[in-house]
């Protein structure tokens, strides 16, 4: 910004044009860099430095995505993966928030679950997948269970932090105005803790997606992950790359959707609590 000011001081007339050009350049940059990436990819793929197997050209990949879309496979797979991810996420959200509230209210509940959460959080719970498969079979139930298992931890933690951070003056004010304990919980604690809880949900959703994709890869069947595994087994590398693009787009849309939802729900909030995840 300092450089723009100097430019302004230097001369008049011509600088207005330069400033606008600069502003336009910064706005165009995102599309430019993605565009550059695709062009570079295409160039590199065609150059012959790598085989089409190792790096199919973007044109081939897009072709593949298109034919999948037309055939309907893309939508079936997308639906399967999203269904499992969202089902698991929804259960994790309900269970996580409920458990967080229970732990905040009951000392015994807190004592019992605290080490389980503290120890369980950093564990790669995906290691339990073979056991879950053993118990719950190879279909949707075990996949959704795995998703829930992984997604519930950030929700519980965020709920606990959110509840603990509620200023006592808010609780006292509510009681002062004649609110019962149940009313205080529902009408004050829950909305006050909501920003932090939302942050937890925003962390949990990408996790749900990752786990859904991985369980599909391990257990096979329909879904974006399963389809990618199938493609790789048939040495169909455009299929593999198509899968990456599809999952990337889905992941991006989901995260952006969550961010928009957060802004809507938390209109009143001084936007200081945006999580540092994108």
């Amino acid at each position: 910004m300092a450089r723009l000011d100097l430019a302004r001081a230097a001369d008049d007339g011509g600088t207005a044009w330069r400033e606008r050009a600069r502003a336009v350049a910064w706005r165009v940059a995102p599309f430019a860099s993605v565009g550059l990436l695709i062009v570079a990819w295409e160039g590199f793929a065609r150059s012959g430095a790598v085989t089409p197997f190792m790096l199919p050209a973007p044109s081939t990949v897009i072709d593949r995505i298109w034919s999948d879309a037309v055939a309907g496979d893309l939508w079936i797979n997308m639906y399967q993966t999203l269904y499992r991810a969202f089902a698991g996420f929804a259960i994790a959200a309900v269970v996580g928030i409920a458990l967080g509230f229970t732990m905040a209210r009951s000392r015994i509940a807190h004592w019992f679950f605290d080490p389980i959460i503290s120890v369980g959080f950093p564990m790669p719970k995906i290691a339990f997948l073979p056991i879950v498969g053993l118990w719950l079979g190879l279909f949707d139930v075990s996949k959704i269970f795995m998703v829930t298992l992984d997604a519930v931890f950030p929700v519980i933690t965020a709920t606990l932090v959110g509840i603990a951070a509620v200023e006592r003056e808010l609780l006292w004010s509510a009681r002062n105005m004649g609110a019962s304990e149940r009313e205080v919980l529902r009408q004050v604690v829950l909305p006050a803790a909501l920003p932090q809880i939302m942050t937890g949900l925003q962390v949990a959703l990408p996790i749900a997606l990752i786990v859904a994709v991985v369980t599909e890869m391990v257990m096979g069947g329909y879904g974006l992950g399963g389809a990618m595994m199938t493609a790789s087994r048939f040495a169909n590398s455009p299929g593999v790359f198509a899968g990456i693009v599809e999952i990337a787009v889905v992941g991006y849309a989901v995260v952006k959707g969550m961010a928009m939802l957060r802004r809507r729900l938390l209109l009143w909030h001084p936007e200081a609590m945006e999580p540092s995840t994108v």
């Binding site: 910064w26 940059a29 995102p30 599309f31 860099s33 993605v34 550059l36 990436l37 197997f53 190792m54 004592w111 019992f112 679950f113 605290d114 080490p115 389980i116 120890v119 369980g120 950093p122 564990m123 790669p124 719970k125 995906i126 290691a127 339990f128 997948l129 073979p130 056991i131 053993l134 118990w135 990408p206 997606l209 990752i210 859904a212 994709v213 991985v214 890869m217 391990v218 974006l224 992950g225 990618m228 595994m229 493609a231 790789s232 040495a235 590398s237 593999v240 790359f241 899968g243 990456i244 999952i247 990337a248 992941g251 991006y252 989901v254 995260v255 952006k256 540092s276 995840t277 994108v278």
Partner: protein, 247 residues
């Protein structure tokens, strides 16, 4: 000491509950073998060397991949915070790839590098880089302007400023990003070894499961889970020391 015992007591209760449920035959012994038998299987796996060998493979892959991710990721994040053109170029790409489930990269790393160590290292490198980059970026951006100006007024060159002021200020957020990357590394490692490996802990789990050897399978699963937990705790211990000057 005593408070730690009270704190972790529920885990002991769970272990006892497990043993009881299994012994009482409430569930079939293949679904849930008694904890005591699992522990016994664990010891025999150690004795036979299988667990250690598998562990070595896994930790080697994870370690190398993570190290690369940290070095490259941090450098990228700081570069993005320091030079506007780099930021303009890389930021949209980072924003685009960050929400992608990194597990999607498993098949492609196999296509490129096969079933061995290389594909796992590449997977973890690519998958774990972005949390570190984001942490470094946010940390470097937030470095106190006043500190930077003081350094400049004392005649520090741009590069010196970078090294002496920006990097240390970025540490807390960077280290937080590394913590996320650590957890992600474990997830990606186990996932890829479950699906596309011929050695390693994840592979061992799958192999034992397919063989019907549930007691050793449970043993390895618990080992992996515990390693993830221990790595996180160890990391916090080390990092706490490094960040001591902050308080």
């Amino acid at each position: 000491m005593r408070s730690a015992l009270i704190r972790y007591a529920p885990l002991v209760l769970l272990a006892l509950g497990w043993e009881l449920i299994a012994r009482l035959g409430l569930v079939s012994s293949s679904a849930l073998p008694p904890l005591s038998k699992v522990v016994a299987a664990w010891f025999s796996l150690i004795a036979s060397g299988d667990l250690v060998t598998a562990g070595a493979f896994s930790l080697y892959r994870g370690g190398v991949g993570l190290l690369l991710a940290i070095v490259v990721g941090a450098a990228l994040g700081i570069a993005m915070a320091w030079w506007r053109p780099v930021n303009a170029l890389m930021s949209p790409l980072v924003e685009m790839f960050y929400p992608m489930p990194k597990s999607a990269l498993i098949p492609v790393t196999v296509v490129w590098l096969g079933f061995g160590d290389g594909s796992k290292i590449l997977l973890i490198f690519l998958g774990c880089m972005l949390p570190v980059t984001l942490g470094a970026f946010n940390g470097a951006r937030s470095s106190d302007r006043v500190l930077v100006w003081s350094a400049r007024s004392m005649g520090a060159s741009r590069l010196r400023m970078l090294w002496d002021v920006v990097v240390p200020s970025a540490m807390p957020e960077l280290l937080n990003g590394v913590r996320t990357a650590l957890a992600l590394a474990f997830i990606l490692l186990v996932s890829s070894e479950l699906i596309v490996a011929r050695q390693g802990l994840g592979y061992l789990i799958g192999y034992l499961g397919a063989d019907g050897a549930y007691e050793p399978m449970f043993a390895v699963v618990l080992t992996v889970a515990f390693l993830g937990f221990a790595a996180d705790r160890l990391y916090l211990l080390l990092v706490g020391r490094v960040l001591a000057w902050r308080d």
